[in-house]
């Protein structure tokens, strides 16, 4: 992992982001709601990390604490060796929060310039506009933009500070597929400048495709943390599907190379740590099995397995 030296800060233990033992509760109608219950993450400078989890998992609360918007009940946050408030005050952090529209009565260019003026060493306004792909709408008033355009302006606002750490909370929620693709192209270009990027998402394919590493969060705690390939490997790596009526699930589960089995009407779905062994055993014992498919498990399946949410292990493979 690349560890870069920041102004005056020697490369090493301070050139990273650390969340230690974070806890946060909110008052709810039925007593306190424990939104975050013990999150420990260390992110190296230059990494792109996805905080992945369903809605209500505690991602936004964690991000608010990372940005210093919310004080943790317990635990600590360190951004490049500094408290978040100091890193923010020094202009080292850029963020795109989950909720948010734009203030009105300014052109896109004026708004980005207004925000750039707050930072010690911002990007050029034109550069930020082009990075975010909004050069053509720069003279439009902020209150007259579409949802997708607004989102790109918010991105330009986050980028113009030229931050060391860029934090994005569900940045592509309002975007269509094409805009989402364009968004991540921009993000990759920004990451290539050696920036650290932390983004929250519940789009599994986003974490899979764009993050070096995924931190899976459910019910306020981390359920897995590693490269997306490793997370997939942690769970049954392949899914075997076949049409096979009249065979008991228990029998199938007992086959070599199979860790779990499920029946869906006439079809069966087997979770296979060793799919080669499983297919041989299946055809040996049940030669009438047909329509056989073997597929690698997506991150979504891994996610459902790890968090224990959702009923079917194979739901994620539909896409």
């Amino acid at each position: 992992m690349s560890v870069r030296s920041l102004d005056g800060v020697p490369a090493g233990s301070t050139s990273e982001i650390q969340l230690r033992g974070l806890e946060k509760s909110f008052r709810g109608p039925d007593g306190p709601i424990r939104a975050v219950r013990g999150i420990d993450v260390q992110i190296d400078a230059g990494e792109t990390v996805a905080l992945l989890g369903p809605n209500g998992a505690g991602k936004s609360t964690t991000i608010d604490m990372l940005l210093g918007l919310l004080a943790p009940d317990a635990g600590s946050v360190s951004v490049f060796g500094r408290p978040p408030a100091r890193a923010v005050a020094e202009g080292a952090v850029g963020g795109m929060l989950q909720t948010g529209a734009l203030i009105r009565d300014l052109s896109v260019r004026e708004l980005v310039a207004m925000m750039a003026s707050l930072y010690p060493s911002p990007l050029g306004v034109q550069e930020a506009l082009e990075l975010a792909g909004i050069g053509e709408i720069s003279d439009q008033r902020t209150q007259k933009l579409s949802g997708g355009q607004t989102q790109r302006v918010r991105l330009a606002v986050a980028l113009v500070s030229d931050p060391q750490l860029l934090v994005l909370d569900e940045p592509t929620v309002a975007l269509d597929v094409e805009a989402r693709h364009a968004f991540w192209t921009t993000m990759r270009a920004f990451a290539a400048r050696g920036k650290t990027i932390v983004f929250a998402t519940h789009y599994l394919e986003e974490a899979d495709a764009y993050a070096d590493r995924a931190v899976l969060i459910a019910h306020g705690a981390i359920v897995a943390d590693g490269p997306t390939t490793e997370i997939k490997a942690m769970v049954g790596t392949r899914t075997l599907r076949a049409t096979l009526p009249g065979v008991d699930v228990d029998v199938l589960e007992a086959l070599p190379g199979v860790s779990g089995a499920e029946r869906r009407g006439e079809a069966i779905v087997l979770r296979c740590p060793d799919s080669d062994a499983a297919i041989r055993a299946l055809l040996a014992s049940h030669p009438h099995a047909r329509d056989i498919e073997i597929a690698a498990a997506g991150l979504e399946e891994a996610f459902l397995r790890l968090t224990g949410d959702g009923d079917g292990d194979g739901d994620g493979a539909r896409a």
Binding site: V88, A89, L97, L102, I103, D105, L106, M114, S117
Partner: protein, 244 residues
């Protein structure tokens, strides 16, 4: 002081129609409508002050109160769209944020004030340079509690509720302050008005009579309101942002 940020904030405000209507258009139209027929009245309703001057300061108080309190409308709107959270992850400190809001409010108030001065002069208001300066100084000082009130309301109310709240509040403050007619020298309304900050704002017109426009009571009331509303604004901000 984030000057560039303040410049854009002022630009936004000047592009807003509400500003022109309440801080500038409304007071100017009323001024000409009320004063034109009575421009030669030298002693308005026993106040000892000429009618063009009385209403010039009265309506300037109305316009500048609006200008200062409209920072609350902008704060409420910024909160509603999450912009204040966006600002909290920039190097702009809360103090600097408030300085921007107050300074913008004052610049808008100054525009409103100068427009009323021009209108007043066109209808015969004539003061010495020293009187103009003293009156302007008193009005600008008298707006301090309104700056704090704008910030407090901006953090307590929603964009939907702040409009009616300010509309009603400013009407009441204008009435009790004597914007529409002098409150006399005794009686319930006069006694009550002594405790209202807008009363002392309107009293800035007393420069024409010579002497101190604000007596000890005036200074004490203004300082008390400034402290009370300043504390309220700080509290509202902390509650709103969850800061300790």
């Amino acid at each position: 002081m984030p000057l560039a940020y303040t410049r854009y904030e002022l630009l936004r405000t000047l592009r807003n129609r509400r500003f022109f209507l309440f801080s500038l258009g409304f007071p100017l139209i009323l001024y000409f409508a009320i004063v034109s027929p009575y421009r030669h009245v030298r002693d308005f309703d026993g106040s000892g002050i000429s009618l063009p001057l009385y209403y010039m300061v009265g309506l300037a108080s109305f316009g500048t109160m609006n200008a200062m309190l409209s920072s609350g409308v902008r704060i409420a709107a910024e909160r509603a769209v999450g912009w204040n959270r966006q600002l909290r992850i920039t190097p702009l400190s809360p103090r600097a944020y408030f300085r921007v809001k107050v300074l913008t409010g004052y610049m808008v108030a100054l525009i409103s004030l100068l427009a009323l001065y021009a209108a007043g002069t066109s209808l015969g208001v004539s003061l010495s340079a020293g009187e103009w300066l003293k009156m302007t100084g008193l009005i600008l000082l008298g707006l301090v509690p309104f700056a704090a009130l704008g910030i407090a309301l901006g953090h307590m109310l929603t964009p939907d509720s702040i409009g009616p709240a300010l509309g009603g509040g400013i009407s009441l403050l204008a009435l009790l302050g004597g914007v529409w007619f002098p409150l006399g020298s005794h009686g319930f309304l006069h006694d009550l008005a002594q405790y209202i900050p807008s009363y002392w704002l309107v009293r800035a017109s007393h420069v024409e009579l010579g002497g101190a426009s604000w007596n000890t009571m005036g200074w004490a009331v203004m300082i008390a309101w400034t402290i009370a509303l300043g504390l309220l604004a700080a509290r509202a901000y902390r509650r709103d942002t969850g800061r300790v």
